[in-house]
Amino acid sequence: MIQSTAAFARALRTSLAGLVLGGLTPTVATAGAGGPNAPDLAANAPLPDEPFAPEPAPTAGLVEIQVSPPAIDLTTARDRQSIVVQGFYADGLTRDLTRESAFTAANPDLTVRDGALFTPKADGETTLTVAFGGKSATIPVKVARCATSDPLSFRLDVMPVFLRAGCNTGSCHGAARGKDGFRLSLFGFDAEGDYFRLTREMVGRRVNLAVPADSTLLEKSIGAVQHTGGKRFELGDALYNTVHEWITAGAPNDDVAKLPKVVGVELFPKAGVLDGKGARQQMTVLARYSDGTDRDVTGLALFLTNNDSSAAVSPDGLVTAGERGEAFVMARFETYTVGSQFIVLPKALQFTYPDESTGNYIDELVADKLRKLRIAPSEICDDGTFVRRVFLDIVGLTPTVEEFDAFMSSADPDKRAKLVDELLQRKEFSEIWVSKWAELLQIRTSLTVSYKSMFLYYNWLVEQLSKDMPMDQMVQELLGANGGTFKNPATNFYQTTTETLPLTENVAQVFMGMRIQCAQCHNHPFDRWTQDEYYQFAAFFSQIGRKQGEDYRELIVFNAGGGEMKHPVDGRVMAPKFLGGESPDVAGKDRRVILAKWLASSQNPWFAPSFANRVWAHFMGVGVVEPVDDFRISNPASNPELLEALGKRFTESNYNLKSLVRDICTSRAYQRSTHRNDSNAGDDKNFSHALVRRIKAENLLDAISHVTNTKDKFGGLPLGARAVQIADGNSSTYFLTTFGRATRETPCSCEVKMEPTLSQALHLLNGDTVNAKIKQGGVLDEVMKARPTAEERLTDLYLRCLSRKPTPDELAKLTPVVSQAADQAQALGDVFWALLNSREFLFNH
C-alpha cells in the first residue's frame, strides 16, 4: 500500500546532480526519473553545494555512533528506507557520518542498498551493521511481501503531495475561499471534501481520467499551463508520478473504514550539536501506521525551522548550520509536527564549564543544557541583591531597612533558604498568587457578572490559596462546579465565559498552557491538534445547564445531561475525548466532573508542567516555555528535562505551590547575578544569568506606597489596602492602567503589559503618585529628625528604596546637593523623588 516518494525525490536529485558532476551515466538519470521501480544508484543525499567533498569526519574523540531509524522495516515493493548515521564525540559535538560509514548486511540478498537508501529484494529478516572510526551499531532489517505492490491511496499517498508541494497552505488553495476558483482544505483537514472538489466539482477538468496527463491538477503543478502558484513539481518526479498513477488507476476514493491511519511520526536524528557554520546533518522522517507498517516519508514531509539563521533546513531535510545559536527543526506530515533540537557552536570552540558546587536538581538540569551550549553562567549575586530580589518576587514588596539589616548582618550560611521560608509564610505571598489566578480566571465585573458574584468568586480564591489547597483539588472543584454562583462561587467559572468554544479554548490555555484556537476551523498548522480533537474536547462542555437564581444576579450552573457537540464540517456527533488523551465513558455522568478529574491530575501530561512553568516564569522572568500559555510543538521548551523535572516535583509535592517556589528560589539559577559574561551575553532563555525585569504594575504601586509610608484607597477596599488585593479586574487607577495591569478580559498571559512607555515616564516624573506620596508619607520628616548628617540621610533613603547603601561616588555627588541647599528637606525630597524615578527602583534585578 505504501510508496516511498522520498526515495524517488532523492534518487532524482542525486542523479541530476550526478550529471552535473559528470560522474553518472545518463541511463541512471533517466531511470532515476522514471518511476516506482527505482534502480540502483551510486550516490546518496546529502549532496554538497560545492563540487568537492567536504573534509572527512574525524575519528578521534568519537564515542558512539547511532543509526536512525532504529530498524529497517520494508513492506511491499514500493517501500523504501533511508537511514542516517550520527556520530557522538567526547566534546559533545555530533556529526553526520552517513556518507562515510561502512554498511554490512548479514544477509545482503534481502535488500538493495543505494548509499544509505534501502529497497526490498527478497522477504526475510537480517541485520545491518554500520561502522565508522572503530565504532559500530547494528539494526534489524525485515522485508515482507516484497513481490506485492498495493494500489495508491488518495488519503495516504495523494493528500501528502498537496501538503509537501504547498498546494493546501493558507496563502494558496487552502484559503477559506480557495484560490483562483479551486479550494483544498487547509493542510488537508477535510480529505473527503478535497476528493469531491478534485473529482466532482468540475468533472473531467481537474482530474481527467481519459488522459491523466491532461488533468489540470498535473498541468498546473508542473507549470505546463498558467498557474498563479508557479511550478510546484517537475514532470516525471516522484510527486508527479504519485498523482499521475492515482489518476491512471481511475482516481479511486478510499474505503476509510479499512484504511490504516497514521499513528505517529518520528524525526531523526532527535538532536544535534553542530560544529561551526556549514556543518550539515541529513534528517529522515518515519511515519507509523495503524496496521503496524512504517514508511519513510522524508520526501513527503514539510521541513521547517524556527531559526533560519542558526540552522536552515532544505526542502529535502538537510540541515545546514549557520550562526551560533539554537534552532528547532521540524517536519510536518499529515496532522503531525515533530521536531529535533539543534545547537550550533562556533567551529572548534574551546570551553570549560566553571566548577561549581552543585545546587539542587534545577541546577543540574540547567547546567546540562549550558554545557551543551558552551555557555558559562554568571556568578551568584551578592546578599544585598538577593534580599531585594526575593522580597519583590515572593511578597511583592521591597524589604524594610530593618529587614534588610537583619538579613545582611546574619552570619548564618543558610540564611538565604531561611529567608525564603520566612517569606513563604507571609500573607503577601498568597496575595500575589491570588492576583495571578484572578488574571487567569478573568475575575472582573461585567454586564453579566455582578459585583457580588465577582467578590464571592475572588474570596473563594483567597480562601483556596491561603489555606494551601493543593492545586489539583482547587482546579477540580472549579471545573466540576455545580450550583449557584453565590452559594458555590467556583461556578462563576462558567458564568465568566458562557459560550462553549471560547470556554473550551480558555480551559486549554489556562490549565494546559495551550492555544488551540486554530483547530476550531482547521487542523492546527503549528501543533498536533486536529479539528476532530478540538470538538471532542469541546464536547465536555456541551451539557452545561445555566438558569437564573432567585436573586436575579445569581446564575445557577448545573449538568443539563443532554446536548452534543457536532463537527462543523460534516455534523458528526463528537464523543468527549481528553485533549491528547483517551475517550472516557461519560454515559449518564457529568462530563465536566470527568474532565476535571483527568485534567487536574498526573494523567494529564500538561497540567503540572504548565503550571510549574508559570511559577518558574514569575521568578525567572522567562518561562522554560515562553510565552507560558503557548505550549506547542513548534514552540518547544528551552530545556525539556528541566520542565519535566519541575512538573514532576510539583506533582510529587501534591501540587504544593510553596514547595515549588522554595525549590526555585533556593536554586543557584535563581540567585545568579544579572551581569553577563562573554559566553552568556547573547543568552536570554537558558537561565545562565538573572534577567532584569520591570516590576509589575500592582507591585510597583505597592512598593512606592511602602517606601513612602503612604496608604492607598481603592474602590471596595479599606484605606491602606494594597493594589495587589484589588478583586475586580474592571476596577483600576491611572497608575495601574498606565503600568499595564491586566484588564482580565482574556486569560492570555499577554494581558499583563510590562513594556515601558512614554506615559509611564511622564507619570513618574510629573504625576501625582510619586510627588504626592513623598509629601504625604512623612518619611522625609522622619529621616530629617532621626539622622543628623547628610550622609546618613542619604544612606537611609537609599536603603529604603534600593536596598543598598550609596557608593562613595554617589555620596560625593549627592552630599553637597543636600547639605548646601537653602532648604535641606526640599533637597532631600528631590533625592527621594530621584530614587523613586531611578531605573534601579523600577526594575527587579
Binding site: 496563502s171 484559503a175 475561499r177 524556527n306 531559526n307 533560519d308 539563521s309 550562526e323 551560533r324 545559536g325 562556533p346 492555544r515 486554530c518 498548522p525 503549528f526 513548534s634 544579572t674 551581569h675 553577563r676 562573554d678 551575553a681 547573547g682 534577567l691 532584569v692 520591570r694 491611572y734 492602567t737 498606565t738 510590562m754 513594556e755 515601558p756 512607555t757 512614554l758 506615559s759 509611564q760 515616564a761 511622564l762 507619570h763 516624573l765 510629573n766 504625576g767 501625582d768 510627588n771 557608593t807 561616588d809 554617589e810 555627588k813 549627592l814 546637593v817 528631590d830 533625592v831 523623588w833 530621584a834 524615578n837 531611578s838 531605573r839 534601579e840 523600577l842 526594575f843 534585578h845
Partner: protein, 435 residues
C-alpha cells in the same frame, strides 16, 4: 533616535548600540551586525507626506452606507438609506455624508479594498500592519514603523493615539517597545481635557526640575553602568523623550486643544469625532508623524439605519472640517489622512435590519499627502459583493501609504532571533493613487 534614511534600527539594534557606547562589543553583537549586513539595501525615496492622520472606524463600517452606495441595487442590497450627489460627476456617496460629498474632489476613495479576514481582530490586524496575522510573529503597526524609521520631531512623540491605543495591533509588534505609541489617556472631547502628566507638578519650576534631573542622573549612573537590557534602554529612551516634551513649551502646547478658537472647535463639532480630529490636526501641525484616532462603533449587525444616523453626522462634520482646515492651513499637501475600518459589511441587509462582516470588498478613503485628489479608485460590483475593478489588498494599501511617507515597504526590519522581516511583504505601490 533613528532619523531619516538610516539603516534599520530595531530592538536588537537598540541593544547593540547601547553596548557599543559602553565599549563592550561581544560576540553576540558581532553576529547581530553580520545579520544586519545581509539586509537588503534601498535607494531613499522622496516622501510626499510628512505626517499621517489615521482615522480608524472600529467594528467594520458598511461601505454601502458611506462611500460606496448601491442606489440601483434591489432594496435588500441597497438598504434603506439614500444616496446623494458629490462634487464628482456621476459619483454618489451615501446620504450619511452630505458635507464630505461636497469635498469629494479633495479625496481619494478606494472602493475595491479586499482581504479574507472576517473576524474583527484578524481584519484589524490586516489594516494596521499590512500583514495577515501570524501565530509566530507579532507585526508592528504603521505608527510603530514610522516611529522606528523617523523618530521624534520638535520634541514631540512620533506616534500618538487619541484617546488611547485603539487595539493591540496598533502596537510595536516585534519591534522594541521604544516605538510604542503615546496614548493621551483621556478624550479631547471631555470637559477639562488635559493630557496627563504633561506639565510639571505644582511647586516645581523649571529650575527645580532641572536640579531634580541632575540628581536623577547621579542616581541612575551606577545602575546604568552595571545593567544592560532592552527594557532598561527602552525606559531610558522614554525618560529622554519625556524630558524633551516637558521642557518644550511649544511641544506641550500642541496638546492644548483649549488654545483653539471656539469657532474652530464648533466647526469640528464638540463631540468625540470633532475634537479628536481637531487635536490630530494640532499635533501633525506641530510635528507628530503619525496620529491614530478611533471613532464610533460600527459593528451594526442590527438596525444599521439608526446606528448610522446616530454616529455619522458628527463624523461627516468633523471629517469635512478636517479636510477643509488642513487645506486652509496649507497642511493638506503634506498630510495624509486615511479613513479605514477592519472590513465592510454584507451585501444584503439581514433579518435584524443590519449587515454582518464582509471583508471581500469595502472602502478606504485617503486625502492629501500626495494622494491623487478627486479620484475614485477601483469599484465593487453592482451588489457590493466583490471587487469589480482594481482590487487592492491590505499589503498594497500599506505599501502605498509607506511609499507616501518615504518608506520603502520592502525594507527589512530585524525581528527577534535576528530574523529580517519586510515592513510589508509582497505589496505593491498603487501608482494610480498617487498625485
Amino acid at each position: 533616535m533613528a532619523t531619516g534614511c538610516q539603516g534599520p534600527m530595531s530592538r536588537r539594534g537598540f541593544l547593540t548600540v547601547g553596548a557599543l557606547g559602553l565599549g563592550s562589543l561581544t560576540l553576540a553583537d558581532l553576529l547581530r551586525s553580520q545579520a544586519r549586513a545581509d539586509l537588503k539595501n534601498y535607494e531613499a525615496i522622496q516622501a510626499t507626506a510628512d505626517s499621517v492622520i489615521h482615522i480608524f472606524l472600529p467594528g467594520g463600517i458598511a461601505h454601502q452606507e458611506t462611500f460606496d452606495p448601491k442606489p440601483f441595487a434591489p432594496v435588500e442590497y441597497r438598504g434603506d438609506m439614500g444616496s446623494i450627489a458629490t462634487k464628482l460627476d456621476g459619483e454618489k456617496f451615501s446620504e450619511t455624508l452630505p458635507q464630505t460629498a461636497q469635498l469629494a474632489d479633495k479625496l481619494t476613495v478606494i472602493r475595491s479594498m479586499t482581504h479574507g479576514e472576517a473576524a474583527h481582530e484578524r481584519g484589524t490586524h490586516n489594516m494596521f500592519t499590512g500583514y495577515r496575522p501570524s501565530p509566530a510573529l507579532q507585526y508592528p503597526s504603521f505608527g510603530s514603523v514610522v516611529s522606528h524609521e523617523y523618530g521624534p520631531k520638535n520634541n514631540l512623540p512620533p506616534y500618538v493615539c487619541i484617546p488611547r491605543m485603539p487595539n493591540v495591533y496598533a502596537g510595536t509588534g516585534y519591534l522594541s517597545s521604544a516605538f510604542s505609541p503615546f496614548s493621551l489617556g483621556s478624550d479631547p472631547a471631555s470637559q477639562g481635557f488635559r493630557v496627563q502628566d504633561l506639565n510639571l507638578p505644582e511647586g516645581i519650576d523649571d529650575n527645580r526640575f532641572s536640579s531634580r534631573r541632575t540628581v536623577l542622573d547621579s542616581v541612575n549612573s551606577y545602575f546604568r553602568e552595571r545593567e544592560k537590557s532592552d527594557n532598561i534602554e527602552a525606559m531610558d529612551t522614554f525618560y529622554d523623550r519625556a524630558y524633551s516634551l516637558i521642557s518644550s513649551q511649544k511641544a506641550r502646547e500642541a496638546f492644548n486643544i483649549a488654545a483653539e478658537p471656539d469657532a474652530i472647535r464648533d466647526e469640528y463639532g464638540r463631540n468625540p469625532a470633532g475634537q479628536r480630529m481637531l487635536l490630530a490636526r494640532r499635533l501633525v501641525a506641530a510635528g507628530v508623524r503619525m496620529v491614530t484616532l478611533e471613532y464610533g462603533s460600527w459593528d451594526l449587525h442590527s438596525q444599521i439605519v439608526s446606528g448610522m444616523k446616530n454616529q455619522m453626522p458628527p463624523f461627516d462634520q468633523a471629517f469635512a472640517t478636517l479636510i477643509r482646515d488642513l487645506d486652509r492651513q496649507g497642511l493638506l499637501a503634506r498630510t495624509l489622512v486615511m479613513v479605514s475600518s477592519e472590513f465592510g459589511r454584507t451585501p444584503k441587509i439581514n433579518k435584524d435590519g443590519g449587515r454582518d462582516h464582509w471583508p471581500k470588498v469595502f472602502s478606504v478613503v485617503l486625502a492629501g499627502g500626495g494622494a491623487k485628489q478627486g479620484l475614485i479608485y477601483g469599484s465593487s460590483n453592482a451588489t457590493g459583493t466583490e471587487p469589480e475593478k482594481d482590487p487592492i489588498g491590505p499589503e498594497d494599501l500599506a505599501t502605498t501609504v509607506y511609499h507616501m511617507m518615504g518608506i520603502v515597504a520592502d525594507k527589512e526590519l530585524m525581528a527577534p532571533g535576528d530574523r529580517p522581516i519586510e515592513i510589508v511583504d509582497g505589496g505593491k505601490v498603487v501608482k494610480e493613487l498617487l498625485a
